[in-house]
Each structure stands twice: as C-alpha cells, then as structure tokens.
Symmetry: C2
Subunit: 337 residues, 2 copies
C-alpha cells in the first residue's frame, strides 16, 4: 500500500501521521509541542525529527509501506504555488520556503497548504463532509479560519486567501477585533472571545458558578470552562453558549446564502458544547438564511478530532500530485516538488 | 455567423436581443414593459411576441443569421436543471416550466438561469469582469442579488441559490428587512432603502434640498434622486451615499474575505453615484478585508448597462449547450432542451 505523510503544524502542537493513499488507514500518529518560542530552526528540527520517526514507525507497523510524499498544513497566509509561508505571527515565520525545506530534509516530494484548508479537506475526504461536492468548514480555536470545497477540490481564490471566515463582519459597529476592525465573527466566537464574553458578564455582576471552576481567578476561564459549566447547568455559561450560537449562526447563514453548500462542518473545541451550541445554531441559520438553501444544508460537528489536518495535508499532496501528473511540468506541476 | 437569443425578464421590463456566438455583436435589441399585473398568460405572450420580433429583425440586420437557441434570465428562485421558475413574488409565477414554454413556442432549444446570474455572467463574458477566472457581481435595484463566477463558470451551489448576497447579515441587530430578518445588506443598500434612509433623516430634521427635487413630496424620493442631489452637492445626499458605501463595503469585504476574487462588479442604478460611491466603497473594503485579498481585487462598476442580462442569458445557453455536447444526454444535457 502507498502512504502519504501528513504534517499538521499548529501554534501549540505539531501532529504527524501516515495516511493510506485511499484514506482507509492512519498509521504512526504522533504529536509534539510546537514550542514556537524556541525559534524557527528549533521548530523545524523538531518537525523533521517527528516526521522521520513517523516514517520509521510506519515501516514497523506496515512492513513494505511505500511513502510517496508529504503534505504539510501550516498557518497562513502562504503561497501554495511557491510553497512559501509568507507570515505566521504565532510562529514568527516570514517568507519561509517551507515546502522546499521539508522536501530537501525528508527527500520526498512535498505540497503545502493552509492549516484550516487541510482540516476542512480532511473532513471532506474522510470525515463529516464526505460524499458531498460543495462543503464549507469553519475551524474555531484561538482564531476562526475556514476552508471551501467546490466540486471536490479546495477553492483557493486569486491569492490563496479564500475562506477567511473569521474576519467577515456580522456587526458593522460591533466588538473590536484583534485585526483592527469592528464586528468580525472572530471577535465574538473564537475560543478566547467566548471566554472573554463570560468574564465581562461576571464583572458586570452576572451570577454564575464559573469562577468556582478556576479557583476564583477569572483570568483562567477558557472557552472549555464555559462549555463545562454549561453542561453542568450554569445559567450564565448557557447564555454565553446560546449567544455564541447566534453569532456563529449569523456568520454561517451568510455562507449558506452565498455558497449554498451541502454541508457546513464546525471544527474545534467549540463542538464540546454539543447540543447546547448546535440546536440554537441550526435554528439561527434557519431563521436568517434563504429557505431553499437551508433545506439542503446540514450543519454538523467535525468527526476527525485531532486528525483532520493530517488527513487533509495528505490529501493536498495527493490532489496536487494528480494534477501535476495530468498537466505535466506546468504551473500546477510545480506546486508539488 | 451563429446567434443566440438572450431574454432578460425583469419585474419592470423584458429586454431581448440576438448575441453573436463569440459575443462580438448584439443585434435587434428591444424592450417591452413587463406589466406583471396583466397576468402570467399576457406576460408570456408579450415575451414571445418580442422574441419573434427580435428574430425577424436579426434576419433583416444580418441576412443569413443562424439563431441556434435561446437563453432566458428570470427572477428566482428557480431550478436550472428542470428549467422551472419556482416562485417569483414580483411576477406572481409559481412552478412555471418557463424553459419548456419558451422552447415550444419559439421552436428553439432553451436554457434558463437566474436574472442576477445572467447579468454577472454577461459582465464576465463581455463587460467589466472579462479576462478573469473568479469574479463576483452584485446587482442592486429593488433588491440586491448577486452571481459568482468560479473558473469561468457560474457557480450555482447545491440548490441554485448561490449568490444571495442581499440577505447576508452585516448587523445582527440592525434594520428590519422585507425578508423578516434584521441587518441584511439589502435593508441598507437596495434602491428603495437608500431612498428611505434619506427620507428618515429629513423627517428627523436633517437640512437638505432633496425635497425640492420632488415638489416637496418625500414619498417621491428615489435612490436616483439621492444620487442627483449628491452630484449637486447636497450634504444629506452625500452623507446617505457615503453611508451606502460603508454598508456595501462591509458586505463586499465579507465576499472578498471568503472568495478572494479578482474582481467585484457592482451593477445597477447605484453606479450613477459614481465616485461619490466608489471611492469610499473601496476604502471601506480595504479597511475591513484581508490585505492580500484586497490587493488583488478590483471593485468596479458594470459596463454593459441595460444589456448585461441579455449577453449573460445568451452565454448561459452557449455554456449549457457545450456541456450537453460534451456529456451527451445525461443530467447536464437535460439542462438545455
């Protein structure tokens, strides 16, 4: 069986695994802390070491396994054609020719794409969006990202920026966002902003048991704390989750109106809120979006928790290699090297 | 030379013309009031009469012209595959097999698409978006519609609803919209709502010469009145146009962030406001959207005023016929009949 190494580089962890060419198996899954603060060289060394370890372990688990290439998902913005990461504030990388580095140090052909794109492609290939032609994925963590699948292919747009869902405006004069604007979806529904809205309410006098989850230190409240408290029936936490559903619902309704997809996959820790989130979220989308578009669109949590990015990175390599084989050594061919 | 009849059915007028297969010429352009109030049968009779007149006139203008088919743009929602208009509140049509009717009464193969899609495809083919791969068009009139071109093809989504830009939310608790929701782009920036915002300001005491354009009858103020007054330097009209630019800018920034297109074409009477609109509009998009996406995206007024829908309807027919020829008698083949 032929395998592709999938490398998912995040601000907190790097995850690597070997994915069977047909997606039927994932071997030698491993993870390391990214430790961005240790510097670019150190982070790259750690990624390469983990990749080599994964390759060796794959050969142990599947004797004779043929690893044909590497797909890499990294925070953007990046240039998929040249394989260069333009800027990653979280990792401190600027104009890093990541695909070339991975290719040279592992001796395998490589392809690069955005981390959110990889996660969404993974969910489309082997997860919650499989079997569809047109899908949208939203990744909710420290920030909010997204990816768009059209006709079974990642849609990149004119400059690899398509899917910047986190900075779509849902309220022209709303909450201030890290990006400098007001009313971005991310300013309401990212993990840190979900926690922040809860803390703001407590400081404004709302009654809640949330503080007791963190020994009274409100600065320790995270989005996960809010989901836990919501499960435990805390009124404020339930309200914050419900408001999150409304904000996300407005953002997703916009996507449903514009893209008319078959499925919207919601990825990230926010899915821990379960039905407390998804029931009002689906209601809000149904209220805001065009009925004939709502009626054909499922809104579902991700299925490949922790591995969607690895599956997707591997699939990016496979798709690019197939395009390169079809088109020869032209522009598409150069996207794999 | 081979020609395709383009029929653009609007709530106010029906426009018909013969478009050369390569888009190089438009002959026998004609228009009739729709008179929706006269009833479905009467409207259809008038469309067919105009179409037959156009065919005869084309033969006069271009002896030997070969008319190979008909493209029809109609208000939606509609089903492009079956050629049925599902519901058009403005015309009172419900489940009307429009493609079949046009086909039978003209004796020509026909294809059907949404009117906004046709206008945007026309601008992509022969107007402001020509030469691009990915483009978005926004049509601003009584309502706000839109169309999306991906890889040189209209993108329809899962149920022919893609491009419902008018009902994307820009303010979750904003102005009430006809659709029942709050804060839709259309509730701010459609023609009637541009006029309404001006009237609201006047009633609230704003000083303006706008009333003098309509003999003091505020109910007669239209968006066109506002653009005229803005050109004449009226402060309130300039403020209303400037606010329109901000609202449209938020909506367009969302599209730029999500689609990363090469061009956004703005169609409709609103382009009459000229630089009073486009200068602050581009500034607002640049302020709100992701820089690498903004830097590759032009925001321009339409070029084919009054004929984009005719060009686009003809192009819809040509594209469907080409797909049908390639795929044979399958699903795509059935979209032209």
């Amino acid at each position: 069986m032929r395998y592709v190494l999938g490398i998912d580089i995040g601000g907190t962890n790097v995850v690597v695994g070997s994915v069977a060419e047909d997606g039927s198996a994932l071997h030698a899954l491993g993870s390391e802390p990214t430790h961005a603060e240790a510097g670019q060289r150190d982070v790259l060394d750690r990624i390469i070491a983990l990749a080599k370890h994964t390759i060796a372990k794959t050969s142990e688990e599947v004797p004779g396994a043929d690893i044909i290439g590497v797909g890499v998902g990294a925070p953007g913005p990046l240039d998929t054609k040249s394989g260069v990461v333009l800027l990653t504030p979280n990792l401190g990388w600027v104009n890093l020719p990541l695909r070339q580095i991975i290719h040279e140090r592992l001796g395998l052909p490589a392809a690069l794409d955005n981390d959110a794109n990889c996660a969404v492609l993974g969910e489309w290939w082997m997860g919650a969006a499989r079997g569809t032609r047109n899908a949208i994925g939203i990744t909710i963590g420290t920030g909010i990202g997204g990816g768009i699948i059209i006709d079974g292919k990642l849609f990149h747009g004119a400059s690899d920026c398509a899917g910047e869902i986190g900075h779509t405006t849902i309220d022209t004069e709303g909450r201030h966002c890290k990006c400098g604007n007001y009313g971005c979806l991310e300013a309401y529904a990212s993990g840190p902003n979900i926690a922040l809205r809860a803390v703001e309410e407590i400081k404004a006098g709302a009654v809640s048991r949330l503080a007791s989850y963190v020994g009274g230190d409100l600065g320790q409240i995270t989005a996960q704390t809010v989901y836990q408290a919501a499960h435990d029936g805390d009124d404020l936490a339930l309200e914050v989750v419900n408001d999150t559903a409304k904000f996300l619902g407005a953002g997703i309704a916009n996507l449903v109106n514009v893209f008319n997809p078959e499925v919207v996959v919601v990825c990230g820790g926010v899915t821990l809120a379960g039905d407390h989130l998804f029931v009002p979220l689906r209601r809000e989308v149904a209220r805001r979006a065009f009925k004939p578009a709502v009626s054909v669109c499922r809104i579902v949590p991700c299925e490949l928790t922790g591995t969607a990015g690895v599956y997707g990175a591997a699939k990016v390599f496979l798709d690019r290699a197939a395009t390169a084989a079809r088109k020869g050594s032209g522009a598409a061919g150069r996207a794999v090297r």
